[in-house]
Each structure stands twice: as C-alpha cells, then as structure tokens.
Amino acid sequence: MGKEKRRNKKLYKIVFILIISLLTISIIGNVLIFVKTQEIEHQVMKLNRNYKKENNDLKNIQQEVKKYEEEINDLNNIDENTKKIKEELFDNIKTLEDKILAGQSDKKIVYITFDDGPYYSTYKVLNILKENNVWATFFIIGQSKSACYDNKSHNCYEVINEIAKNGHTIANHTYSHAIFQGLYSSKNNFIEQVKKQEDLIKSYTGLTTNIIRFPGGISTAGRLKSSITEELRNMNYGWIDWTASDGDGGSLTGKDQAWSNFKNSINSNIEVLLLHDYSNISISILPDIIKYLKDNNYLILPLSYKSNMVNK
C-alpha cells in the first residue's frame, strides 16, 4: 500500500513537472511569437506606406500620360477644334448683335470689309490687321488675278490663301465683277459668276463661303434683284451691302477726305465698313480707322453667315 502511494506520488510529480514545462514553453513561445508579430506588423505598416506612395506616383504618372494623350488628340484635331470654336464665336456674335439691336448692350460692332481684292497691297492690309489683332472680311474676285494689278510678277491667287491662313472671312464678290460687261445681264449669268468664284475660293483655300456682296451693291442688280436674291437663297447664300465707307471706291482727293468720309459714316451700333484693299489712301489710314473704332467702343469682328447684317 505504501509502495503504491509512493509510486502515485512520483507519477504525479512527473506529470506536474511536465505540465509546468509545457506551460513554460508555451508562455515563452507566446512571447516570442508576439514580439515577432509586432516586428512584422511594423514592417507591414512601412510597406503599406511605401505601397501607397508608389501607387500615388503611378497614378500621377498615369494622369500625366492621359493629359498628354488628350493634348495630342487636341493637336491632331486642331483644324476641327478651330472650326468648332469659330462656329461657337459666330453664334455668340449673333447673340450679341441681338442684344445690341434690342438695346440691351452698350457694346458696338463693326465689320471691316475689303472689296475687289486680292491685290499685292492686300499683304499690307493683312499686316496692319495682324498688328492690331483684328479680323476682317474680304470680298474677293477671281478674274485676271494670276498676276496682281499692282505687281505683275506676283500671282495674286497666292494672296487668297494668305487671307485664309490669317483667319479672315473670305466671301464671294463674283468671279469677274464685270458690271459693265454683262454681269447683270441675266440671273443665270450672275449665278454662274457666283458659282465660278465659289469654286475658285474652294480650290485655293478649301473653304466654302456662302456670303456674297453684289458688285456695286444690291441696287446695281436693278430689276434682277428679287430673282437673283431668291436664287441665292435657294443656294443657301446670304448677301450684304455696307453701312459705312471712306469713299475709296470713288475719287478721293486725299487722306483728309477719306478720314472725314469714314468718321461721318460711322454712327450706328452695328456697322459694315466698306474699304478697298487696292486703295493706298485707305491702307494708309487703316491703323487710325482701327484705333478710332476701338476707342469708340466698337468690337471689330469677322463676318459670318449667321450675322443679322447678312440678308437671307
């Protein structure tokens, strides 16, 4: 009995020591793993920060790539975008005209127009317009322009392209302008001249115009006025005369007379100013004309079919 008791006591002791040992090992294991876990967690946090930074960098680069791709797309479509912004501008000009005509705006608009070109002297006009940062409208003709009247060695058809490249409005003034050689002899003859000039403009600039000014003005069409304008309307054309001029289409005695004519003719809130790009007098006073118009609150704008001044 005593022997068995001693054996149980010994067994109990062994089991007890074993449990103590396992408990100790388990506690040490827990501590070690806890410490390691903390260390790993610290590293994970560091990695997380790095990952976020790398991710941000990547996103920034991707955004920059996207930005450049959009810019490239815009540049590839720059002609189309310019066309769109011009159309938007012409819509807005029409809205401004409506406001001016309704007396809701104190702004004033002038359309500077040049008839009968191109000439070699048109280059001077283009330079003045560029220096003053304004756009104008050129009603051009096509007959006998292979050599400029004022510089026979220069092909004046090249000037047409230069006008277009500078962003000015190019409009139709018939191919021949031959008022005294039968331009107004019949509706068909006139319309033929319009179409011929339309084709010429398109071949040199790629542009299609649908604004016309009658050589000599609408009244020169006489009895054909209504039939021609009806036909033009069918062709989706609009026509325009002028409301102001310096008289350079007639005989001028000098700059003073031209200046006086010009100033006296400017009195409406929307003006269409007629000049000729062959007139040295008009070219010489053009910078002053532009300054005068700007000083008198006029916006100098290029003409479009949408304008109220274009008769449809």
């Binding site: 007890f16 408990l23 827990n30 994970v44 990952y51 990547l58």
Partner: protein
C-alpha cells in the same frame, strides 16, 4: 486536496496558453501573408511605373513634335478662343 487544485490550475493555464499560442501563430501567419502581398504589389507597381514612365516619355516627345509643327495653328486657335471668351463675357 491543495495539490489537486494547483494541478488543475496548471492544466487550465496550460490550455489557456495553448489557445493564445494558436491565435498568435494565426496572427503571425496573417501578418506574413500581408507582408508578402505588399511586397508583391510594390514590385508590380515598380514594374508598372517603369512602363508608364516609358510611355510618358513617348507621349511627351510626340506632343513636343506636334506642338512645334503646329505653332501657328495653336496660336490661331488660342486667338479665336480668347475672342470667343471676350464675346461670351458681353452676352452674360
């Protein structure tokens, strides 16, 4: 009797400690997995960054070429845009 109580307390502590150990091991495994995941992501990001940087250089140079070839057209567009903004300000 006293020895028996101590024995059971020891057993209880051992069980508790074992459970704690299991949780700690699971936690450690999870942290190690996270660490590996982040390391992989960072490596992938670095590779993507290299690719995107190369792409950026390409688009930048394409943009510069296009920009230089279209200087006049860009100026024209900007001039029309400026005029349009000016007219818009008058019709508000």
């Amino acid at each position: 009797m006293k020895k028996k109580i101590i024995f059971y307390i020891m057993i209880f502590l051992f069980v508790c400690s074992s459970i704690g150990l299991t949780f700690n091991i699971l936690n450690l495994t999870s942290k190690l997995n996270s660490q590996k995941k982040y390391e992989n992501n960072i490596t992938n990001n670095k590779k993507s960054k290299e690719v995107e940087n190369k792409k950026l250089e390409e688009v930048k140079s394409e943009y510069e070429i296009l920009k230089n070839n279209n200087t006049n057209k860009i100026e024209d567009y900007q001039a029309w845009e400026k005029k349009n903004e000016e007219i818009k300000s008058y019709i508000k």
